[in-house]
Symmetry: C2
Subunit: 335 residues, 2 copies
């Protein structure tokens, strides 16, 4: 039995890119196992963009890692000693292991560790990738949020990353035209040659925006967004009416405060649904609205107010009034 | 019969606020009526924020008004002469009248003019307000996009405007707690005293953000957004998990190019649905995903790739690698 545990504690919050200086490496004594606990040696640690958010003190979907705490991370560990009713020596488990060599199971963790099945031909690391949180993320992002129809065009950013590469492949399985955006020729070659994406765009090459347009001749129906910023804006600008954006990550903004991304970060963290809306789409149902509005109006439940400007010549002034807040209720020009 | 028609033509595109200088006032001869046409005298013109978009050469949901064209506007007109089978003298009609004194019906307009019913007790101008496009917009925005549940908190920006004032009232009818944001005490008093909003926040007063928070003790479930910018960001920051944003207008950005608003403008114009997504919400269904992913993996339809970094001490470097694009596929630390 080992008696010390090497751990990386969060020492300081990064201001830009994460560096070693943000961590303290310490050797902590391993406690005696109590009843109901097991000790596991960590075999693999998952490294995910969201960890950059956990390191900051920004509001997130999980509380920040406190300074002095072991850095939070998902991982796979092997049980080496157990007084836990569910785990025995040799079991492989998945959970929040943290950046350390050993982890105690049954020590009050919020989400219990989960035993991993041994599946012939499936390497253990698959449970951090395609069969792990990233694969599950891609699965629900595509099947439940995007809900693609065969023939639709799906664009995935950070397409050579863990989640993007699975999201794009699921899009292909479901019959989409799939275009990936990634940084570098090797990544792009992998996407098209091995994963059979219909096209891959290297955003580090000049002219990539035109290439993206050419790769999406029918426009873009779905954006699986991992990046934000200029990449997202470029994709959005080519989207078709009534397209869907699965806002899964905004990695371009994790290392600096980007005010242009602040709202989208809120949309992501709070899982908001933002729906662009122009009433023209409802033209066939205008009658239904007018009937209900008229009924509410007649019943005194709705009140209507107008600000009236007199004369055609003052119509331009009226238009300006809208933006200087001089009207209350509906602004009308009477001729 | 009149023989000249005073018209306001778009002379130049505004750079900031609309001004009279953007228009040319001309007197054009009125043509003889042909068979199938009617002449109507314009009685009321609608003035709407979206007209500012039509005046720019930005991509929109309708083409820009061309320079030299009569300024596009909705309005109500009275038929004064007719060779049209559907309209007779005295009929009141609604449609794209434009900024002019007279309009020709049956002259190739894309959306036909619509005859207005005479409803006792309902003033004609209601067909530009509560029973017009703005009322219809509020109706579908609330009932079809937001779909409020009784007891939910709805925040409306530009709440004393034509659409916002109706949207908030519909929210009240449907049982919401409704909080309006408007600029000025008179507007706020109207919202609470006459329209019975639960609270109204004057964003021109210091401390308005704290007042908004206090007025929404249960957080915000629905944002009916007409403004964008700082007002939208403030509302978003107080929204509850899984809230809905009806993106109906971004009036704060219509008079200047605001890069932070560009993406939201695209979401609005293209009626996109942007959904923030964090896989934790799907925890009860993880098994379903893993089963399907495992099946695709076994069938060779999904490929998994890892970039492996060796040793706990390199875990911080691995985290930085994610943001400098050095990994392909899933990034893992092996201990």
């Amino acid at each position: 039995m080992p008696d010390t545990n090497r751990q990386l504690l969060l020492k300081s919050r990064p201001t830009g890119l994460v560096s070693r200086d943000n961590f303290d490496a310490v050797a902590s004594p391993l406690p005696e196992l109590r009843d109901g606990q097991a000790l596991a040696r960590i075999r693999f640690l998952s490294v995910d963009p969201t960890m950059r958010i956990w390191m900051s003190d920004r509001e997130g979907y999980l509380p920040p890692v406190a300074l002095g705490e072991v850095m939070r991370a998902l991982g796979i560990a092997e049980v080496i000693s157990s007084k836990h009713p569910e785990f025995k020596t040799g079991d492989l488990v998945f959970g929040m292991t943290g950046f350390q060599e050993y982890v105690l199971l049954g020590a009050g963790e919020k989400v219990p560790f989960r035993k991993l099945p041994a599946i012939p031909g499936v390497p253990l690391t698959a449970f951090l990738g395609v069969l792990g949180i990233t694969g599950i993320t891609a699965y629900f992002g595509i099947t439940d949020i995007a809900r693609p129809q065969p023939g639709e065009t799906l664009v995935v950013s950070a397409a050579a990353g863990a989640t993007g590469s699975i999201a794009g492949q699921i899009g292909k399985i479901l019959g989409c035209r799939v275009v990936g955006i990634a940084g570098g020729e090797e990544k792009c070659a992998w996407l098209t040659d091995e994963l059979h994406f219909d096209a891959a765009i290297n955003y580090k090459q000049s002219g990539w925006k035109e290439k993206l347009a050419a790769a999406c001749p029918q426009g873009i129906d779905i954006n699986y967004e991992n990046v934000g910023g200029d990449i997202m804006n470029t994709v959005l600008s080519r989207m078709n009416l009534h397209g869907r954006v699965v806002l899964c990550g905004l990695i371009s903004g994790y290392n600096q405060e980007d005010p242009a991304l602040a709202s989208f970060a809120t949309v992501l963290i709070k899982r908001l649904r933002v729906q662009g809306f122009i009433v023209l789409d409802y033209a066939p149902r205008y009658g239904e609205a007018v009937a209900q509005l008229g009924q509410w109006l007649a019943a005194g439940k709705l009140k209507d107010r107008h600000t009236v400007v007199e004369g055609l010549d003052r119509a331009p002034d009226a238009l300006a009034m809208l933006f200087t807040g001089q009207n209350i209720g509906k602004l009308i020009v009477r001729l």
